[in-house]
Symmetry: C2
Subunit: 128 residues, 2 copies
DNA sequence: CCGAATCCTCTTGGATACTG
DNA sequence: CAGTATCCAAGAGGATTCGG
């Protein structure tokens, strides 16, 4: 399959761009895919997510979760207990994103070493 | 398949992150995937790419191409003619990325409308 | 525990002008 | 044609502090 076959309604020339771009604008940020990946196995609480993702700040976790909720990819459930408890969970739509993510992750697992090697060589060739 | 099954050598808890993150750090920028997509059908020259991608600046095209070349995803061929001519082409490794990209693009085509609708509703609920 | 608000820094990336 | 170099604006994102 060619990428150009994907944009039936939209483009004529190189607008393969548009579609790819629009996804990247959603999930291409620093944390979105990680949050989705972290929700792979079921509902998770806020601070649990925070520990799980490692490196994410409270602020960015909140922002990322809001964005994903806003786009209908995750759902937020508040238990009005004291202290409060909030569960985040993938929606039906959100779960369908796991496929592409796994495809990317699998690719990464296979090719990360190759890429790192390539970078090594590239970095050492200009000099010396 | 679960995402957690992917990280055989690396992690123990939520480090599903690492792998996904490392790819995103490579191709998650504003232009990399678009350049790769643009090279889908074969070798392309610099300014041809520039027109094809639409919106990319000369500077960013150069930077993006260097990065992808450095990582061994594309190859650069210089024809020392006057005026000079440079062809960019996906490498073997680079072509394998087309699969995951297409998976993402396909997902986007299916779900972009759903996402936009979700955002509409989300935006209108707080107020009113 | 969950989150909002403020501040401040660093990176990304666009515009422009110049070279071989 | 195919870049490189410089300048600059905008935004992403971290640290910290406060609130329910």
């Amino acid at each position: 399959m060619k990428l150009s076959e994907l944009n039936f309604p939209i483009s004529q020339h190189g607008d393969d761009c548009r579609v790819v771009r629009e996804i990247l604008d959603r999930v291409g940020d620093k944390w979105s895919l990680l949050v989705i990946a972290a929700l792979d196995e079921g509902p998770v609480r806020f601070n649990q997510l925070r520990r799980q993702i490692d490196g994410i700040s409270q602020r960015m976790l909140t922002i990322t979760l809001r964005g994903l909720e806003r786009d209908g990819l995750i759902s937020r459930t508040l238990f009005p207990t004291i202290p409060p408890r909030v569960d985040y969970e993938l929606t039906e739509v959100g779960r369908t994103l796991l496929g592409p993510i796994i495809a990317l992750a699998t690719w990464a697992n296979k090719n990360l070493d190759v890429i790192k090697d390539a970078r090594q060589r590239y970095g050492s060739s200009p000099e010396a």
